[in-house]
């Protein structure tokens, strides 16, 4: 049932509905921006992807490594461990379900090895952020199994300290071009997490992703996370290939999962 070629460039989010609107998952070779209000689950999705990229090929994953660029200090190791353990449990359950007779398919991964495959950089200023993006070319050449780069958040250091907005736009533009090049050349996914700000449009205040209008050209796909009643939803705001659609998801102790109100059965990847 597995078409390895098709799955080899998609990273699942662990939420079926979200994967569906994404056409299967987060795409390698593309830059995806994910933005939302505080507490909606941006870091959660970032960590979930850093873990899911490591799902072995035999389970439909990429068996790759992750680079996590933390600009705000939101990377909590305890949470990564929780999500890693849950991922391994899910894989075991799946393996048990499909290969009841064959003991050899037991999952041999340990949560610590998942943590070991996440390369973590803590960035404390926009200078360091730009320097790091420049350096990534060399780093990824030396670590060819990196399949995802997560930047959490791309906004933080560019929101303060800038009097010259035009300069900010130019620097951001150059940074995003470099990221797109990285994604294409090394066939990996780049996920940028963004914050929100309020904007005065048509006589009322509205929420919009930070960093300005010109920034919206810096990514291939743009996803907005928002509250719809009591449920978290993700909306495809911009994409050359995906339809504008919305999907519910939830944040649980195990990580990102399907929304509890969704009546679809969980599809084993």
């Amino acid at each position: 049932m597995f078409n390895e070629e098709r799955f080899s460039s998609l990273i699942t989010t662990s939420c079926v509905d979200l994967d569906n609107i994404l056409g299967g998952g987060i795409n390698c070779k593309e830059v995806t921006e994910i933005g939302g209000v505080p507490g909606i689950g941006k870091t959660q999705i970032g960590i979930q992807l850093a873990v899911n990229v490591q799902i072995p090929l035999e389970y439909g994953g990429l068996g790759g490594k992750a680079i996590y660029i933390d600009t705000e200090g939101s990377f909590m190791v305890e949470r990564v461990l929780q999500i890693a353990e849950a991922c391994i449990e899910d894989m075991s359950e799946y393996s048990h379900h499909f290969h009841k007779d064959n003991q050899a398919y037991g999952v041999k991964m340990h949560p610590n090895s998942i943590l070991e495959n996440i390369f973590y950089f803590r960035v404390c200023s926009y200078t360091e952020q730009i320097a790091l993006v420049n350096y990534l070319d060399k780093f990824v050449t030396e670590h060819k199994d990196v399949k995802i780069i997560i930047i959490d958040s791309v906004t933080f250091h560019f929101r303060q300290d800038f009097d010259d907005m035009a300069l900010r736009t130019r620097l951001l533009g150059e940074m995003s071009l470099k990221l797109m090049k990285l994604a294409r050349n090394f066939c990996l996914a780049v996920v940028m997490l963004n914050q929100v700000t309020t904007k005065h449009i048509e006589g009322s205040f509205q929420l919009t992703l930070a960093l300005g209008d010109s920034w919206s050209h810096s990514c291939t796909n743009r996803i907005i996370l928002y509250w719809n009643g009591n449920e978290r939803h993700a909306y495809i705001d911009k994409s050359p290939s995906l339809k504008s659609a919305s999907a519910p998801y939830s944040v649980t102790s195990r990580g990102i999962r399907n929304s509890t109100s969704s009546s679809k059965r969980i599809k084993m990847v």
């Binding site: 209000v37 505080p38 507490g39 870091t43 959660q44 960590i47 705000e72 200090g73 939101s74 990377f75 909590m76 190791v77 305890e78 949470r79 929780q82 610590n112 090895s113 943590l115 070991e116 495959n117 996440i118 390369f119 973590y120 950089f121 803590r122 404390c124 200023s125 200078t127 360091e128 730009i130 320097a131 790091l132 420049n134 350096y135 060399k138 958040s153 933080f156 250091h157 303060q160 300290d161 300069l167 130019r170 620097l171 533009g173 150059e174 914050q195 929100v196 700000t197 449009i201 205040f205 509205q206 929420l207 907005i224 928002y226 509250w227 009643g229 009591n230 909306y235 649980t252 102790s253």
Partner: protein, 423 residues
């Protein structure tokens, strides 16, 4: 990192000289220009610029670690893998051990709800010796609104840890580890932080409390964009301080009434916007945390303290590793006490809302909140056994509230307030 000098980066002499000649001295200078601009400025080819920038970037770039290494370091070097237990069982479990080190934890709620009480208890917990579950360290308490009460601190200590506090001199020693600072403006605050930063590790400071951040920021004269920018800079600075020193930093925040903020939506939602239901004129006033959305993004953990139907709750409104739980609590002579360690799981954005249910009283709002909290204590549904303790509870509460907030004396005792100049 950003201020590293280019001439110390072992670049080929020729290009290093060109940088210097064009007044590009630090890495920040170079990285604040796009490569195209550099090419024009330095009058060299793109390939040379790219290779020079790659070299500079590699030097300035932060070190690489793995998540595993981070975890092992914390488990090995830090108390409880980097957590300060609050002694509130349900909360500690939800937070994987307690208030985390290295990040900002915010306490937000209406006046009189218990934020300062929580801070006092935390200061005590951090100063306790390790064998009693503390961090055996000093605490820096930034008391902007002069709410700190040594007397109340000792009372909490004596009631919560009688075996320690009845020892001779222990109370004084514990209180002596807490240093109170009273900056009157953001810039004074920044200055004192700079001085703390230098001696942070030497003085074994294990906890920094800012009570309250809102008072510090909102007290500034200018408003609007410049205030936001000033706040942004300070937030960045405090965050880096937290990380660099790996201590917990707890900040309190005020609330303000919402002015239609909560119905903020994205443009794509506007089409399916439900009719704005007007809240019936109840006294269930909705409040919003002060300091804006940038601040909300910047804090890692947000604990909302609120009051509903006379019962106080502490909610985990924002926490990367906890479920959205709300714990009912009371304030007793030994500080904050949870009534239920399992907590109630909240669905949806409800976890973020701040309630302050008040009763009709013909008093001004500030007092209104205080008195309603007191009266609701006795009027709310209580079991028979707790009825008795409620009455005394109210009286006790009245006593310490007078001391801490409502114009009473703040006992200085033998705790010398460190004047700012001596830092």
């Amino acid at each position: 990192m950003a201020n590293k000098l280019i001439n110390q980066m072992a670049l080929p002499k020729s290009i290093a000289n060109i940088f210097a000649a064009r007044n590009i001295i630090t890495a920040k200078d170079a990285l604040s220009l796009t490569e195209f601009e550099l090419m024009e400025l330095l009058d060299v080819g793109m390939a040379e610029v790219t290779s020079a920038m790659a070299h500079i970037s590699e030097v300035v770039c932060p070190p690489c670690q793995t998540a595993l290494l981070l975890m092992e370091q914390r488990v090995r070097n830090e108390s409880l893998a980097g957590h300060l237990p609050t002694r509130l069982k349900g909360l500690d479990e939800a937070l994987c051990g307690g208030i985390p080190f290295g990040v900002l934890t915010e306490l937000v709620g209406p006046p009189g709800i218990g934020k300062t009480q929580f801070c006092l208890k935390l200061s005590l917990l951090a100063s306790l010796p390790v064998n009693c579950g503390g961090l055996d360290g000093r605490v820096i308490y930034i008391d902007v609104e002069s709410k700190f009460s040594s007397k109340r601190l000792i009372e909490i200590g004596t009631k919560s840890f009688p075996e320690i506090f009845h020892k001779k001199g222990m109370a004084q020693e514990m209180a002596g580890r807490i240093r109170i600072l009273r900056p009157t403006s953001l810039s004074e605050f920044a200055e004192s932080l700079q001085r703390i930063k230098v001696s942070l590790l030497q003085q074994q400071v294990k906890l920094l409390i800012v009570d309250s951040m809102a008072a510090l920021v909102l007290g500034e004269h200018d408003c609007g964009a410049s205030r936001q920018q000033a706040l942004g800079w300070h937030v960045s600075f405090i965050k880096s301080l937290a990380e660099f020193s790996r201590i917990p930093i707890v900040l309190t925040n005020q609330v303000r009434s919402h002015i239609g903020d909560e119905s903020l939506m994205y443009s794509f939602q506007a089409q399916s916007r439900p009719t704005k239901e007007d809240n019936p004129v109840t006294f269930d006033s909705h409040l919003v945390a002060a300091l804006g959305i940038n601040w909300a993004h910047a804090v890692t953990i947000r604990l909302v303290l609120e009051s509903r139907s006379g019962q106080r709750f502490i909610k985990l409104a924002k926490s990367p590793m906890s479920p959205p739980l709300a714990f009912p609590f009371n304030i007793t002579s030994s500080g904050i006490v949870l009534l239920d360690d399992d907590g109630i799981e909240m669905k949806g954005p409800e976890i973020n809302t701040i309630h302050c249910q008040v009763k009709r009283e013909k008093l001004d709002f500030g007092l209104l909140v205080h008195f309603s909290n007191l009266f609701s204590f006795t009027y709310s549904k209580q079991t028979k056994s707790s009825q008795k303790s409620t009455r005394t509870g109210t009286r006790k509460k009245l006593r310490w509230e007078t001391e801490t907030g409502m114009g009473g004396n703040i006992w200085r005792g033998d705790r010398e307030l460190a004047p700012l100049t001596s830092l």
